[in-house]
C-alpha cells in the first residue's frame, strides 16, 4: 500500500536548450540560468527534488550538473538537489565524492547522488575511456565510490582508477553522508547490483508501459533479501509535459519530444518516432502528457502499480519556451501532485 504522506515528487531536466516565443534558440548560458530559476520555482511550490542531467552534446546545456545545483542551492531552502544522472563510468569517483560533498555543505544536506552508466556514449571518448569497458568501468568505480562515501581513509588498487594508499578525501560532510541512488534502465544485472550495494533505486522508464517493471521490483526485493540489504521504496523517472489544455499539451509534447528523440536517434541509429508510437506512449506508456487531471491519473496509476516512493517527471524535452516550462512546473506543483495524493488516498480508503 502506497504511503501517501511519504511520497516524494521530483522534477528532472536534461538541460535542453530553451526557445524564445518566435522559435529562436537561447544560448546555453541563458538556458542554464533558466534552470536555476525553475529550481527556485520548484522549491517555492514544495516539490521535493530537482534533478539535473549530465550530457556532452550540443542539444543540452549542462555538462557539469553540480555547478548548476550549487547555484540552485543558494536560492532554495527545502528542495533536494540531484544529478540525473552522474555518468560514473566516465568520471573519477574521488572527484564525484568531492563535488557532492561540496554541494552537501553548500545546501545544508540536500545533495543527492544519482549514479548511472549513462545511456549516452559521448562522455567515454571525451574522457579517454573505451565503450567496450562499459560494464567493468561502472563496476570498479561503483566499488571505489562505495568506499569513498564512508569518509574514512581508503586503500585502493585500481585498474581503471588511481591506486591509493591510506588516502583521505575532503571535505567531510556534516549530515548523514551522501544519499545515493542508482539509475537503472531495465537490465536485470543492474537492479541486482544496486540491491547488493544497498543503494536506492530509480528506474528510468523512457519507453513502453510501466507494467513491465512489476517483476523487476520483485527481483529487487529478492536480491536485497539474498544479500541481506535493506529494501527502499523505488523511484521512477519518466518524460512528460503538462498544460492547462489537453490538446495544447499533446501538440507541444509531440513536436518537442519527437524533435528531441529524432535528433538523438540520428546519432544513435534508431528510426524517427511515429505518431502511433507517441500516442501509445502518452496513452499507456512512459510519456505523462496532458492536462493536470490526465497526468495526475496516469502518475497515480504508475505509483500504485509499482508501489513507488517517488516519481520524477522529466521536463523540458526539445526546445520549449520558458513560459511553457514554468507553467508546466506550476501545474505539476499546484494541481498534479495534490491530485495524485488525493487519488491515492481515495484508493487507500477504498
Amino acid at each position: 500500500m502506497v504511503n501517501v504522506d511519504k511520497l516524494q515528487f521530483g522534477l528532472e531536466t536534461f538541460g535542453d536548450i530553451v526557445a524564445k516565443e518566435d522559435g529562436e534558440l537561447l544560448t546555453a548560458g541563458q538556458s542554464i540560468r533558466q534552470i536555476v530559476k525553475e529550481g527556485e520555482l520548484a522549491d517555492k511550490l514544495g516539490i521535493d527534488v530537482i534533478g539535473v542531467g549530465e550530457h556532452h552534446r550540443p542539444d543540452y546545456s549542462v555538462s557539469s550538473p553540480e555547478v548548476v545545483l550549487g547555484a540552485i542551492a543558494s536560492v532554495t531552502k527545502q528542495i533536494k538537489l540531484a544529478t540525473a544522472v552522474t555518468v560514473l563510468s566516465s568520471d573519477n569517483p574521488v572527484r564525484v565524492y568531492e563535488r557532492f560533498a561540496t554541494l552537501e555543505g553548500l545546501s545544508q544536506g540536500r545533495a543527492q547522488v544519482m549514479l548511472g552508466r549513462g545511456s549516452f556514449t559521448e562522455s567515454f571518448p571525451l574522457f579517454g575511456y573505451d565503450l567496450i569497458d562499459y560494464d567493468d568501468l561502472f563496476n570498479e568505480k561503483l566499488e571505489m565510490y562505495s568506499q569513498l562515501i564512508k569518509e574514512k581513509p581508503i586503500t585502493w588498487d585500481g585498474k581503471f582508477t588511481q591506486s591509493l594508499k591510506d588516502q583521505d578525501v575532503y571535505p567531510k560532510t556534516d549530515y548523514d553522508g551522501l544519499e545515493t541512488y542508482i539509475g537503472i534502465g531495465g537490465s536485470p544485472e543492474s537492479i541486482i547490483r544496486a540491491a547488493r550495494y544497498g543503494y536506492k533505486v530509480i528506474l528510468a522508464i523512457i519507453g513502453g508501459q510501466a507494467d513491465r517493471f512489476v517483476p523487476y521490483l520483485d527481483l529487487y526485493k529478492k536480491a536485497a533479501a539474498q544479500y541481506n540489504m535493506p529494501v527502499y521504496p523505488v523511484a521512477v523517472h519518466s518524460h512528460g509535459f503538462i498544460a492547462d489544455d489537453e490538446d495544447e499539451a499533446v501538440e507541444v509534447a509531440w513536436k518537442n519530444i519527437k524533435a528531441n528523440f529524432d535528433r538523438i536517434g540520428l546519432t544513435r541509429g534508431w528510426a524517427p518516432m511515429s505518431r502511433e508510437q507517441f500516442d501509445g506512449e502518452t496513452q499507456s506508456g512512459s510519456f505523462y502528457v496532458g492536462n493536470p487531471e490526465h497526468v495526475a491519473q496516469r502518475i497515480a496509476r504508475t505509483i500504485n502499480l509499482l508501489d513507488l516512493g517517488r516519481f520524477d517527471l522529466v521536463y523540458g524535452a526539445g526546445n520549449q519556451t520558458a513560459a511553457q516550462r514554468e507553467r508546466m512546473i506550476e501545474l505539476y506543483g499546484t494541481k498534479v501532485i495534490p491530485r495524485v495524493k488525493e487519488i491515492l488516498s481515495g484508493e487507500a480508503v477504498a
Binding site: T121, D130, L131, I132, Y134, G186, S187, P188, E189, I192, G207, G208, Q209, R212, P215, Y216, D218, L219, K222, A223, Q226, G265, R268, G269, W270, A271, P272, S274, Q277
Partner: protein, 227 residues
C-alpha cells in the same frame, strides 16, 4: 529440419529475457545462459522468466532445437564455433556502436554483421531476426495470429528452408513476418536504418523493405558498396 520444441537462448540481458518470456508463453521449453555462472542468473530467470531453465552455454545448446544469439555483437566470438555446429541459429544481434564500440575487431567494414557471424559459425545455419524491434515493443506487441494491428519482423537468411522454419517460429512468438532469402539483407534493419527501433505491421514493413534502396540509409549502403 527437426520440430522446434526447446528454444535455447544465449544472453540473459534485456532482449534475451523478453524472448524467453515470449517463448514460454508460446509453449516452448526454454533454456537460457548468461555471461557469468548459472548461479548468477538463477534469481533473474526464476523471477522474470519463471519456467525457463538457466544453464551454461553448453547446457543451452545441447538440448535445444533452435538457438538464439541475444548478446552484444562484440561477444559472439567468446562462443566456440563448434559448440553451435549443425544447429539452426537466430542472430538477434546488430553492429551497434553504442554497445560494441567503434572498432574493426568487432566488424570488418567490408561485409554485414550477420555474414560475419555466419562465417564464424560456419557449420551452423544463421537466420537473422528479432534484431530491429525494441525489446519492450517485442514484449508489448506480441499478439496471436490474425489479431488487429499485429506487428511484423524481418526474417532473412541464405538457407530457404531455415528462413521458412524461423518465420514459422516467429509467427508462434507473436509476430507476422517479411522474409528474404539473403543473409546480407539483414543490413536493411540494422542501426541507422529506418526500421531499427520501429514497430510496423506487415504491409508497412514490406513497403519499407521493398523501397530500401530509396531510403537515406539504403543510399549510403549502396554508395559504400560501390566505393
Amino acid at each position: 529440419m527437426s520440430e522446434i520444441k526447446t528454444v535455447g537462448i544465449i544472453g540473459a540481458g534485456k532482449v534475451g529475457i523478453v524472448l524467453a518470456q515470449l517463448a514460454l508463453a508460446a509453449g516452448y521449453h526454454v533454456r537460457i545462459s548468461g555471461s557469468g555462472s548459472v548461479q548468477k542468473i538463477a534469481l533473474t530467470i526464476s523471477t522474470l522468466a519463471p519456467g525457463a531453465t538457466p544453464a551454461t552455454n553448453q547446457g543451452v545448446v545441447s538440448k535445444s532445437d533452435l538457438i538464439i544469439l541475444a548478446i552484444p555483437l562484440s561477444r559472439y566470438k567468446n562462443i566456440p564455433a563448434k559448440l553451435l555446429k549443425g544447429k539452426l541459429v537466430i542472430d538477434a544481434m546488430n553492429y551497434w556502436w553504442e554497445t560494441d564500440g567503434i572498432r574493426e575487431e568487432v566488424l570488418d567494414p567490408s561485409s554485414t554483421s550477420s555474414e560475419q557471424v555466419q562465417q564464424y559459425f560456419n557449420k551452423s545455419t544463421i537466420v537473422k531476426t528479432f534484431n530491429h524491434m525494441g525489446y519492450h515493443n517485442l514484449q508489448e506487441e506480441a499478439k496471436a495470429a490474425g489479431e488487429a494491428n499485429r506487428k511484423a519482423l524481418f526474417v532473412t537468411g541464405d538457407n530457404h528452408e531455415a528462413v521458412d522454419q524461423v518465420a514459422q517460429f516467429v509467427n508462434t512468438m507473436g509476430f507476422d513476418t517479411v522474409r528474404h532469402y539473403r543473409l546480407a539483407d539483414g543490413i536493411m534493419t540494422e542501426p541507422g536504418s529506418e526500421l531499427f527501433g520501429a514497430s510496423l505491421t506487415q504491409p508497412d514493413l514490406q513497403n519499407v523493405i521493398d523501397h530500401f534502396d530509396e531510403t537515406e540509409f539504403g543510399q549510403k549502403i549502396k554508395a559504400e558498396k560501390g566505393a
